[in-house]
């Protein structure tokens, strides 16, 4: 096993001229035999007070022998960082904690069918009473969650056993 490699977020805009959207992207290379891997904290360009989209895909089933969950963590200080050390068994963070589980089974399906999540901060005064959808079996309904507003977020995969080597790609899209 080795340390996971989480890239810095790259930020750009995509879309037709006046209607283009903010896009940030990062990749996480999970080293064989770690149980968890995580992104860096979300980048400067994300306005955490407004809704955003998370698109995520994996290069392979993160763990062919067990179930892997994808979770959202949040940070409450500028020092927020997920621990990505070698051999880590349980996700851990500096100045942050787990907010909720985003996907109950980060599986082979998500190598070809990406996940696209609506994120709506709890402070956003529109978009109301729709229940969270976080189960792969319900993905046809559209993944969605309301989340507590936090200064920073990170995305964390956690296996019941150990991860296989794979690459996760995350994209944030926002108006």
């Amino acid at each position: 096993m080795a340390v996971n490699t989480a890239s810095a977020w790259t930020e750009k805009r995509a879309g037709y001229g006046g209607n283009s959207l903010y896009v940030a992207e990062c990749t996480v290379l999970a080293a064989v035999a770690n149980r968890t891997c995580a992104t860096l904290k979300t980048p400067r360009g994300l306005n955490v007070k407004r809704p955003w989209t998370l698109y995520f895909i994996t290069s392979a089933d993160p763990d062919a022998g067990d179930t892997v969950t994808l979770s959202l963590w949040g940070g409450w200080s500028d020092d927020f960082v997920m621990t990505n050390t070698s051999g880590l068994t349980t996700a851990a963070a500096t100045d942050g904690g787990k907010i909720l589980q985003l996907c109950d089974n980060f599986e082979t399906l998500l190598t070809t069918l990406s996940g696209a999540f609506h994120f709506t901060p709890n402070s956003y005064p529109y978009g109301g009473v729709v229940a969270d959808v976080v189960a792969v079996s319900g993905r046809a309904n559209g993944f969605k969650v309301r989340i507590p507003v936090m200064p920073y977020y990170a995305f964390v995969a956690q296996s019941g056993s150990v991860l296989d080597a794979h690459t996760e790609t995350f994209k944030i899209i926002q108006l």
Binding site: D78, N122, S123, P125, G128, R146, P148, V149
Partner: protein, 178 residues
């Protein structure tokens, strides 16, 4: 036993400049043998009319031999304050009362995995009928509650059958104020 020590709330902003958020922090040192330990009333910077995030975590299991609850109290006048009499089994407040339970068991789990709870005032008219999540067993669903609008709140832990161990509780409030 002695009185608990609740710090004043400190207020600041955290996050990337233009998108930074309001954050208030306080600590409550529970003294051994008390039945409850509460924060001071929420600070001036909290806009109680808008949703906010409460983060709670602890230096250790607040009561190793029983169950400690995380509760929300509300105050209806400016002199709202939680009673701090050492050893008092009944939890009381001046000009306030118990609103609801925020977490059914502040276990050892919350030493490493903070309780991050969405709090939405009932007057906030855009989010409705999603059910409260207040059980540790459902932490992966994301803790959340709707609360009655009150001018002030206090958060804290209390036990029914045992007394608290010496523990430090850390509370943070985060809010988008604009």
């Amino acid at each position: 036993m002695a009185a608990n020590t609740a710090s004043a709330w400190t207020e600041s902003r955290v996050g990337y400049a233009s998108n930074s958020l309001y954050i208030a922090s306080c600590t409550v040192l529970a003294d051994t043998g008390n039945y409850a330990a509460y924060s001071l009333k929420t600070p001036r910077g909290l806009n109680v009319a808008k949703p906010w995030t409460l983060i709670a975590y602890f230096s250790a299991d607040p009561v190793a031999t029983g169950t400690a609850l995380l509760n929300l109290w509300g105050g209806y006048s400016d002199d709202f304050v939680m009673a701090t009499t050492p050893g008092a089994a009944a939890i009381t407040a001046t000009s306030g009362g118990h609103i609801k339970e925020l977490c059914d068991n502040t276990t050892t789990l919350l030493v490493t995995l903070p309780w991050i709870c969405q709090i939405t005032p009932n007057s906030f008219n855009s989010e409705g009928a999603v059910a409260d999540v207040v059980t540790v067993a459902a932490i992966a669903s994301g803790p959340k509650v709707r609360v009655p609008l009150m001018p002030y709140y206090a958060v804290g832990i209390d036990v029914a059958a045992n007394v608290l161990d010496a523990v430090t509780a850390y509370y943070k409030i985060i809010q988008a104020k604009d």
